[in-house]
Structure formats: structure tokens, C-alpha cells
Symmetry: D3
Subunit: 169 residues, 6 copies
């Protein structure tokens, strides 16, 4: 049983060795299981900027499609970006974006699944982050106050630490 799979308080982070140096956590002993993770985040902007995105939706090539693809492609590069993250195959990456006009934001939900030895939280979170940065990129010329907020895990299933549902939090 590892720090990762227990409720008792951790005394150190799993990516640091006892002497404090960095390490990739060994997942060799873990079984291959089906795993899912879902993450979310928001891109908050001026109402006028959101209106420009909304108006673009009537046409082909819109902002949300570009961000969706960037998120999917970003998820596939997670292990290149995050130093101690394991490379792993992906069964699916979904990125959904929706305008939330009362909140002046684009809401992003990304879902990643794998049949692997370790979870796909980082893939889902990276998909959200890259999709959010892509929206930022396309809005930055008209709105300098765009802000990316609330990137967090929504839920995960599979793996030894049990299912997690944070959608209510």
C-alpha cells in the first residue's frame, strides 16, 4: 500500500524521494484497468468578447471548434509537458465547450479515458488548459482582461484509489 492509496496523512509528496529529489512514480506493479477522468475550467471575458464568439458560432471555423481540437491534441502531449507524468495510450479524449452568458465565460469540460496502469487526470486537465489558452489567444486582440479560472478535477473512475466525484464541490 502506498501513500497514494491510503487515507492517513501523507508525510511527503509521491513525486519526491526520501531525500527530496524528483522521481517518476513507479507504476510497474499496477494492473491495467479502465480509467476515466473529467476536468473543467472557465475562460472569463468581457460580454462584448463573448458576443463575438457567439456570433462566430453561426459560421464554420468557429472559435469553440478550434479550442476543442487544440484541447484534444494537447491531451495527447501531456507526458511531454508535465515532467513526471507517464506516457500512456488514450482510448478517447472529449472536449466540450459551452457559452455561459450570465457568467461571461466559456465553460470547458474535458474527459479522457485509458486502459492503463495510471490515471488520466493530467490528460483531462491539460486538455482543459490548452483549450482555454486557445480561446485566450483568439480573444486577446480585442480583450486584454481575459482570465482563465477554476481548472480542477470533476470526477475520476478506475484505479486502486477508488472513484472520486467532485462535481458537487
Amino acid at each position: 500500500m502506498t501513500t497514494q492509496d491510503t487515507a492517513k496523512p501523507a508525510d511527503r509528496l509521491t513525486h519526491l524521494t526520501e531525500d527530496g529529489s524528483a522521481r517518476m512514480v513507479d507504476v510497474g506493479w499496477k494492473p491495467v484497468t479502465d480509467r476515466m477522468a473529467q476536468a473543467t475550467g472557465h475562460v472569463v471575458m468581457q460580454p462584448e468578447t463573448l458576443a463575438l464568439i457567439r456570433d462566430g458560432l453561426m459560421k464554420k471555423g468557429d472559435v469553440l471548434t478550434i479550442a476543442q481540437l487544440a484541447g484534444i491534441m494537447g491531451a495527447k502531449r501531456t507526458s511531454e509537458l508535465i515532467p513526471l507524468c507517464h506516457p500512456l495510450p488514450l482510448n478517447k479524449v472529449d472536449v466540450e465547450l459551452a457559452l455561459d452568458e450570465p457568467a461571461n465565460s466559456v465553460n470547458i469540460v474535458a474527459t479522457a479515458t485509458t486502459s492503463g496502469k495510471t490515471g488520466v487526470e493530467m490528460e483531462a486537465l491539460t486538455a482543459v488548459s490548452v483549450a482555454a489558452l486557445t480561446i485566450y489567444d483568439m480573444c486577446k486582440a480585442v480583450d486584454r482582461a481575459v482570465r482563465i479560472d477554476g481548472i480542477r478535477l470533476l470526477r475520476k473512475t478506475g484505479g486502486q484509489s477508488g472513484d472520486v466525484d467532485l462535481t458537487g464541490s
Copy 2:
């Protein structure tokens, strides 16, 4: 003078053509100038998790160094991640991380500079995002409620649209 460089209300996003399809903005006509952009973001967590990071700081290989390097390396891959972003040389990327114990967060500030035809906001924002995801990765085994918040531009200089200072906002 382009939409990008004027104060009058934009009628469409610069990355969409008139018929709504995606495009990379043409920067061929722009002069090469020295440009700087600085961005920030926060990783909010449980106080116990922040304490584990703080304790790691006494040792080599700590969490903040890993996140700093990931941010610098991520900035160099911005144009691979953001579909309509231009590849450009970088003179410098700095990523600074600091613990904010009252706010239970790690605060990140990234600065990118270039001598180029277009700005480096996306490089600074990508550095912040990848550094934040890296902290998330190292904390996720002990804290499932980590949240990345407030990724935004702090300031930029250089380029035709003039300097911008959002540090007070």
C-alpha cells in the same frame, strides 16, 4: 491599421476570416521589435498540501523547481500547442513561484521576451499554465481539490498596440 491596433469596437475576432474560417494572423508586415509579456496564475490547495511543498523546499529537487522548469520548457512549445500561434524565437523565459500561505496557494509569475514580429503573451501564459499543471500533478495524490485559478496577463511592452499594464486590476 488593423482591428488589433485600434480602439474602435471590433466586429470580429482577428483569427477568423470574413466568412468565419480560422486563420493565422499575418505578421509579415510588422517590424521586428523587442517585446515582453508577463502573466500570472495561482494553484490553490489544502493548507496541508502547501505545507508538504514548503517542507520540500528545504531539500534539493523540490516541487517549485520542477514546476519552474516545466513552465520554461512549456513556453518553448507554445506554437505547437496553440493552433493559430506563430512560432517565434525567445530571448528569455523566467518563471517565478512563491508560496502564499494565507491564500493556501502557489503563485506563479512568468515573463517572456522576444525580438520578433508578434507578442509573447501566449508564451508567458503557457509557461504559467504548464507550471501550474505540474504542481497539480505532484499534489494530486494527496489532495484532489487542487484548483488552478486566475491565469491572466499582467503586463506587456513593445509592439504597435502600445504597452499594457494590468497589474493593478
Copy 3:
């Protein structure tokens, strides 16, 4: 049974959701099986250009070896290039190139194999495309009319949709 595995006319592309947005097809439910795909393509050029390649074959470092390696390396990056393509391990990638002097062309055949949940057509086709572009690159200074033609699937085996042989078409 999915659209992908049936003979009845498809009513939409498998990479679009019902509301028309992009998605990576979920392969989580598919068994891991041995799969092979073979693709072909041609690079057509002036006879004088083909003669320069042929003459290079007597020496080390020839054009066909460079194109062969580029094709093999390109196949390994398929999932980075094709937005909705799954990353998957490869058991083998072969790229064979031959001069077809009557047709003034270099003919390329690439074969990819995997033990995976999805097929390797895109890996074989990407290998052919990158090999063809590499030949183009090396010939373009002496021949501006080089043309890449006939990139298509030759055959595939493994997977639920059954074997396919298009070599006679």
C-alpha cells in the same frame, strides 16, 4: 455494432457527434488485436531528376534512404499530426521505395503493424506522405514540377471490420 462496422450506408462521419462537433472515436471497448495496414503513393518527376536519384543510389547517403527514414520517423508521430487519431504503440514500420523509370516516379510502399485497439492505416499513410515530402524536398531545387500522387490504402488486416485488400484497385 457501430457505423464503422456495418455495411449499411453511414448517415454521418464517425468523427462527428450528432450535433456535428469533432470527437475522437472511443476505442476503449475494442479488444487488443494484431493489426497491419499497408499504403502506397508515388512521387512523379522529370526523367532527369529521377536519373539524379538513381545515380545517387550507387553512393552512401542516398535520397531513398533519407526518405525511408523520414517515413519511419513520421509514422511514429502520426497521432501528433492528425487531430483525432489515437496514440498507439507500433510493432514495426517498413517503408520501401523503388524507382519506376517508365513512369518517371519513385514508388513508396509503407507497412505498419501494432497490437492495439485500433488500426494503423493512418500510420502507414503518414509514413508514405512524409517519405514523399522528403523526396520532394531533395528534388525541388532541380525540378519544380514534382508531384505527389496516388496516396491510398493497399490492404489492412486485423480488427473487427475484417480484412481489406485494395491492391487490385
Copy 4:
């Protein structure tokens, strides 16, 4: 004056040394100039497959937008894919796709521009190839006879070898 810039018959390819080994052509002596290249290619398919793409165009997330983005992003990775190609900054990459119903094909035109020491033909051709492969990927489940044809240079401007216009050929 090099082989590349003269009308007399070439006696060897510029990417091979005198003893036949591979080399990256030295562009250090060349001035930085504005350069443009435009390339084209076609993806030929069954009429029913083309109809599925056309029907998708009414909705967001359509096939052509995905292919367009893949082409733009592919162009930015040209020097990673083509072994002897120089890395260079890009001012713009445009990828346009149009349905040609009489020809049962999707026609692709890509334009790349740079301010650099060498041309951007390979970037334009790589954009076309990756866009074409992406269309293939999305159509392959419903049509195994898709074929990529006619990838070639349309025109180029800038650089010492003078402008080239192959649009009529």
C-alpha cells in the same frame, strides 16, 4: 552561384555532398527576404462520402475546419518531419479547402509566408499533406477508397531563384 540558382543542368542533388552523403544546404550566406509559397492537393472519394462532408458543413465542428487546423499546425512542424529542412519562423499559414462535387474531391490550397533565408515550399506542401491525411482519417470508416492526389507547388515568390508560377500547369 549554386546549382540551385542556375539554369544549367544539375549534376547532383543539392542535399547530397560530392561523395553522396546527406547534408542540410547551408543558407547562412543568403539574405533574409520575404518569401511566399503556395501548394495544392486533392482528396478524391466516393460521392456519398463527399455528401457526408458537405452535410457536416452546415454544423459547427465540421470536417473542413478540422483539416484546416491540422494543416496549419502541420506546417509549423515541417522541419521536424523533413530531415534536411531548415527550421524557420512563419509569418502566416493559410489553408483553404473547398468541395469539388463534379470531381468527387476536396481541394486544398495552402499558402505559407516567411521573412527568412530560405523558402517555404515545404511548409505549404506539408500543410496540404497533413490536411489531406486528416480528411482521410475522418472518411476512412465509411470509404476505404479515398485517395490523395496531385500534391504540388502552385507558385512561389521571393528568394534568389526568382518567382515561379505553376498555376497553369
Copy 5:
């Protein structure tokens, strides 16, 4: 039985076909087994340079941590760098660095493990090489005579060719 798994003298390299062209060795027939490889290497420098690294160790952000991370991240990109190398998942990559003051060197030991069809020697050796180059990069401004030496395999386990222990050689 292949050349790879026999003691009799090889008559050609496994990466060349009978007619001498390059190939990726087919690993499709091999079982998935747990495999480990460990490699080493040394970065030799002036005593004054080694002292600067040693002094940096007291602080956060030190040279060895940066090199360690670079080595881990480099191992994940092995199949992109080495043309005929198979992409494969990694269970763990460890990079350990130690100062050897009598030898005026930084000693590097990297360990990679996988559950796969082929070994991870190249991943361990790439980790060592990239970590060594990273140390070089950080020392080159103060010491132009840095030298990377003795990159070699220490041991490997798993796979059909049996375990290998070269630590005594």
C-alpha cells in the same frame, strides 16, 4: 530464433535488411514482459566548475535537479530521436546524479522500466545523454573543456535474451 537471441556470430546488424536498407525490427511476435535497463555516463570538468555545482546544491534550483528532470523528460522522447526505436510506454524513469570530486566529474545513472515487447536500453541511455548535455549547457559559460564520457549500459533484465550485468566491466 533471431540473430538477437543467439550466441553465434552475427552476420549482419538487426536493423539492416538483407539488401542493406534500414528497418525497424518487428517486435510483434514478442511477449509483453517486465523489462528494466540501467545506464551510466560521466561529465568531466575543471575542479572549479565542479565546485560551482557543489555550491549550488545548497540552494533550490540546483544544476543536478535540472539535469535530472531533463534526463527523465528526454527518456520519454527516445523514439522520436532514435530513428529505428519503438515507441513504448514507460513504468518509471529514474535519473540519479552524484558529484565525484576526486574524478572531477558528475556521475549519472539512469534506470528505465517498462511492461512491453522490447527493451528500454535506449531510454536509459537517452536519459543519461540528455542529463549530461544539460549539465554541459549550464557549465559551458565557465568551462569550455567539459567532456561527456563513458555512456554505456550497466545492466538489463527481462526479455528473451536474458539478463545482462555489465556493472563490473
Copy 6:
């Protein structure tokens, strides 16, 4: 005047800040100049292994061509591999390999040139390292005692710190 450009003893490494954290050295103030760097390294092996490479040289697709291309392509990825290295354009990368039968080794010399703000030592050294690893990969099935030795700078020109010639050392 910086530590980098002076003969007085350095009191810290240029990639560490005063408080010891990592940084990319700022090259924004430096002029663009023509720069060259040349590096070398050796792959030492059993005489029988060297004979297999030598025999392959008579045929197309030989080991040295593969290693040469891998070195050239590796040089183009230097800034992705080395954390604090600047991305920069390259005018040329040459990799030359020669058999040294008395020494039982393959000798590698790589030369990189740029018109840029910083030097290309790391590009030349990365080219040597990746070429050496590629030779290792192709020899490892027949010779487990291959060793990579003596990777070091040979000479550099351009830049403010003056020319360096280490060929005699």
C-alpha cells in the same frame, strides 16, 4: 559585461539566479551575429561490430547514414531537450562519421551554424549525442559493450566571447 564574457573567475553558474533558482540566460541585448560550433564524440565497440558496420557501408541504407540523419534531426530539437537552451534558427547542420579501425570506434564530428543571438554549441553537441545513440541502437543486439566517449566541443566562432579552438586538446 557578464560572467560569460570575462576572464575573472565565475562565482556562480550563469543559469542560476543569485538565490540559486534556474533561469534561461537573457540574450535579448546580444547582437545577431554569424556563429559556428563544432563538436565531436566517439562510439567505441568490439572489432567484430565495427566490421559489420564497415560491411554495411557497401550497401544502401547503411548505419552511418542513419546516424547522420538522426544527428541532424536531433540538432533541430536541441531547445526541446535542454531545459534552459534558447530556440534558434539554424543555417546548417553537418554530421560526419568515420570508422577508426585502430581505435575500434566510429568518430563523429558535427558542425552547426546560425545567424543568431546565442551560440550553437549545444546544437553541435546534441547532434553528436543523438548520432552516437543511434549507432548504439543499431549495434546493441550484437554488442552489449558499446560505449560513447569523448563528447566535447572542438571549436566555435562568432559571439562576444571570441573564437575558441580546442582541436589540439
